[in-house]
């Protein structure tokens, strides 16, 4: 059902930076993790030599080093996440598949798009340095005008411009991708969806993109001496932060499961929770709510489930549509993953209460909406029930939050394993 990733070997084109790291001698001999350190040492050594030889002011050394650190931070991020982006698996929904394919081909295959931001930025910086010579004169001191130093400055300016430009381009396309993905996700049918680990990966990539962008703050001291550069950097940071926020917000609206699974999770009233202690499974029915990402169920602190989940948080929850007359109407979803207990009476529990207080109120309201009769029962008969059954938060009832890791969906006894 799932296609292989679209980025085939034919398309294995790399970003210029990666090509350099893969082909050019000092870098190609060492493993990728050390490339970044080698780069740092190389450029820094050249810089320090220049600093000593031309007797530049100290600011030049410090701010120049910050700029070099920026390029290195960016590079380490690039070497880390780009292979990840290439490995991204395809959604089963046709429209989402198109969206992600376009995104990947724009980011990874189109060299023009890769370079355009860098070239614009480089052009602007170079022409500024050409016009406003005082800026460079201040930093370079005696060495101003030396051809070797000019080459060094050009290389450094290109390094930085290329990274800034590429950051902006990737963030821009990430924002476009997120918005179209969230639009495409609304048109899902049946079992079509984007596996949520992929959604999570994309969100994570966006977050890294944001850190990348923000690491440009390291360039701030360099730009403080000129309005033009400061304005450019501020514009860049604002662009990155704005676009990344937009992208992250759009990704939040992408549902984690296909519509068939969602409808079962939203509409069915009972779930069967299986927990395991000392190799002995334990299955009990519970009432639950589902908020689009996590599944919550309430258990009593007197129950065996509570004791077991505290020791072994692995949980399997089966939610099924059952009908003993029509075989067609039998469907089930099995979610497996780790459970987290919210709101229990312990030191960690109190600490978590600060983190999850509002969340718990929300879950409680969801329960009240989904099971009005049950909540009424708990309120009316509170005095007659055994203490462990009373619906008192924290004292007798806790909420377990399940984050699904594996999903299996059955339709008429035929299982389909969905990638989480």
């Amino acid at each position: 059902m799932n296609r292989k990733s679209t980025v085939q070997s034919r398309y294995q084109r790399k970003w210029i930076y990666e090509e350099i790291v893969d082909r050019i001698p000092p870098f190609r001999w060492i493993p990728r993790t050390y490339d970044v350190i080698a780069q740092l040492l190389l450029v820094e050594t050249v810089g320090v030599f220049a600093f000593i030889y031309f007797q530049m002011p100290y600011e030049a050394a410090v701010f120049g080093s910050l700029a070099i650190i920026y390029t290195v931070v960016w590079s380490s991020g690039c070497l880390y996440i780009v292979p990840w982006l290439r490995r991204l698996r395809d959604p089963t929904n046709e429209i989402e598949f198109e969206v992600l394919r376009d995104y990947k081909s724009r980011i990874l295959l189109d060299r023009r798009l890769e370079l355009i931001g860098g070239i614009i930025c480089f052009g602007a910086v170079m022409s500024y340095l050409w016009i406003d010579t005082d800026y460079l004169r201040y930093f370079l001191g005696n060495g101003f005008g030396n051809p070797l130093l000019i080459i060094l400055i050009i290389v450094l300016a290109w390094d930085i411009s290329y990274r800034l430009g590429l950051s902006l381009v990737t963030t821009f396309f990430a924002a476009i991708r997120s918005i179209s993905l969230s639009q495409a996700a609304r048109k899902r049918r049946g079992l079509a969806y984007t596996a949520y680990s992929e959604v999570r990966t994309l969100k994570y990539l966006d977050l890294i993109n944001l850190y990348w962008g923000i690491s440009a703050v390291l360039l701030l001291p360099l730009t403080l001496r000129s309005y033009f550069l400061l304005l450019g950097l501020a514009g860049f940071l604002a662009g990155i932060i704005g676009l990344s926020t937009l992208s992250l917000l759009a990704m939040e609206t992408v549902p984690w499961f296909p519509p068939d699974v969602e409808s079962i999770l939203h509409n069915e009233g009972f779930a069967y929770v299986s927990v395991c202690s000392k190799k002995q499974p334990h299955v009990t029915p519970v009432i639950f709510v589902y908020d689009g990402k996590y599944l919550y169920f309430a258990i009593s602190v007197a129950s065996a489930k509570y004791r077991i989940i505290k020791k072994n948080p692995k949980i399997a929850v089966l939610v099924d549509m059952r009908d003993s007359k029509f075989p067609m109407k039998n469907r089930a979803v099995l979610l497996r993953g780790k459970g987290m207990i919210l709101g229990d009476l312990s030191i960690m529990g109190f600490f978590k209460l600060f983190l999850h207080g509002l969340w718990l109120i929300r879950v409680r309201n969801m329960f009240a909406k989904k099971y009005p009769m049950y909540m009424k029962f708990y309120e009316d008969q509170a005095q007659e029930l055994p203490p462990a059954w009373r619906n008192k938060p924290f004292l007798s009832r806790v909420i377990v939050r399940l984050e699904p890791e594996k999903i299996t969906y059955w339709r008429e006894a035929r299982p389909t394993t969905l990638r989480a």
């Binding site: 202690s277 002995q280 499974p281 007197a302 089966l318 099995l334 462990a388």
Partner: protein
């Protein structure tokens, strides 16, 4: 508002399986079979089952390659839950949880009478071309049977095994 620790005492111990529990076992339509693998990762599925009154065992029939059979081959401890749901009031919910050991039995070795009863019970689901040859039966021998009705809990322990 006092905090009390787990109420083990609220579970009543019985010397024989409560009649209501037996009724649920006889009449229930779906059973939820919980299995676990060696690292104690649980798995649960909805299944058809048949309760055998004479031997006091549950038989479930499934395909040979399924995950639950794989789990049972490694870890024979299972738990089967059969319940009656009431969407109105939790006090009327009742159910039975059977914890016990599972045995994998080839279909040929299952009592014919039981197979016929099973096929009759689920005639609408299984259809005519039910491939019994690809199936394997799971026989669950109860060790403890927990029964609950509303807030009352009963537990029966199998002393003979």
């Amino acid at each position: 508002m006092t905090l009390r620790l787990p109420h083990y005492d609220s579970t009543k111990k019985t010397t024989k399986i409560p009649d209501d529990a037996l009724n649920i076992l006889r009449d229930g339509f779906f059973a939820y079979l919980g299995t676990a693998d060696l690292v104690c990762e649980p798995h649960v599925t909805a299944m058809f089952y048949i309760w055998d009154d004479d031997s006091k065992t549950i038989h479930l029939i499934t395909s040979k390659e399924s995950k639950k059979v794989l789990n049972i081959r490694r870890n024979t401890r299972v738990s089967v839950t059969i319940d009656q749901r009431d969407p109105k009031s939790p006090a009327r919910n009742s159910g039975v949880m059977v914890k016990g050991r599972a045995l994998l039995v080839e279909m040929e070795l299952i009592d014919d009478e039981l197979t016929v009863k099973y096929l009759e019970k689920y005639v609408e689901f299984l259809g005519t071309g039910y491939p019994l040859g690809l199936r394997i039966a799971i026989r669950v021998v109860p060790q403890t049977i927990s029964y609950w009705k509303g807030t009352n809990f009963y537990r029966w322990k199998n002393r003979s095994s």
